[in-house]
Subunit: 185 residues, 2 copies
């Protein structure tokens, strides 16, 4: 069950529903890298088409993997070393295909429940248990573009709390998603 | 099942195991407030004994509840209005007692598994379902002080991923904890 996660900064919506490139958020990289390390993720793709944003993400990674951060905090180094910075989803898929010998099954996530037919967490857990390669995608800003969700193999059901309120940060939504899919307690 | 959460900035450990007061992190307030709103939390206590840190937390809250942020984002307003800033855990408990007519059952959380006997998530879920008042405590920095855990009624079992690595951010750990205790899907 090699599985991968991707954090998309394009194509995503802004507040007005326009497609934009979102900016790298430092704590997203830290929180998702630590989650990745906790839940046994092979690699965490930070996906952003802008060169300066890729550079920023790479500088953050380097600081913790081979810079002063690595001496300061070995646990963080282990987590941050799972980050790979790429320009596009296609690039991430190509890398995974090269490493695993097969293209990953693409699983999109979204907070809304009007973006297409969804599958339950148990379904994706089942796929992962069957030793197939899976790439789970998380959108930043106001969520990933519809065409990307349509092109994915599956769309996970949204996280329901108790209130109908579904405005979690991508950090906490990713935490809940990975825990539901892969926790052992 | 009225339940409350508290984010402790004292007494917590630093990296060297000394007891310190930690600083307010802006995104902790946002992420935990949004989680609180999602999972039906009555109130989210931000606990910090330093006046300037309390002021900072109150300014952040005000911006989103009654300032420009409230006009900009009503969803965030709903979440941030759940924040209450207090100096001590005792103050939070006193407020809850006044509101609910009973002191809350204190549930501590910790990433380590050497801090005392733990209870499973199902146990705390059972308490909450039995309509008792619960306050779940999250520590910042390197975790809450042992004496605080000892004084709590229960200590939740740590979050196990698949790897033995247990260095999540308090944001993602709180997300997983609340989802395990209160999710409906």
């Amino acid at each position: 069950m090699p599985f991968y996660i991707g954090l998309l900064h394009y194509p995503v919506y802004n507040r007005s529903g326009e497609v934009i490139v979102s900016a790298i958020t430092n704590l997203d990289l830290h929180d998702l890298a630590r989650l990745a390390r906790t839940y046994g993720v092979e690699r965490f793709y930070v996906i952003n088409p802008l060169i300066d944003q890729q550079d920023l993400a790479r500088r953050i990674r380097s600081h913790w993997v081979s810079g002063h951060g690595a001496e300061y905090n070995k646990d963080r180094m282990e987590a941050m070393s799972l980050i790979a910075v790429v320009a596009t989803l296609e690039e991430a898929i190509a890398e995974i295909r090269e490493k695993e010998g097969t293209a990953p099954i693409l699983v999109a996530t979204d907070a809304s429940n009007d973006r297409g037919e969804t599958v339950p967490y148990s379904f994706v857990r089942g796929i992962a248990m069957s030793h197939r390669t899976v790439l789970i995608l998380f959108g930043t800003a106001w969520g990933m573009a519809r065409e990307l969700i349509r092109d994915a193999d599956y769309l996970l059901e949204p996280i329901l709390g108790v209130s109908g309120y579904n405005h979690l940060s991508v950090r906490t939504a990713a935490a809940i998603t990975l825990d539901r899919l892969f926790s052992q307690n």
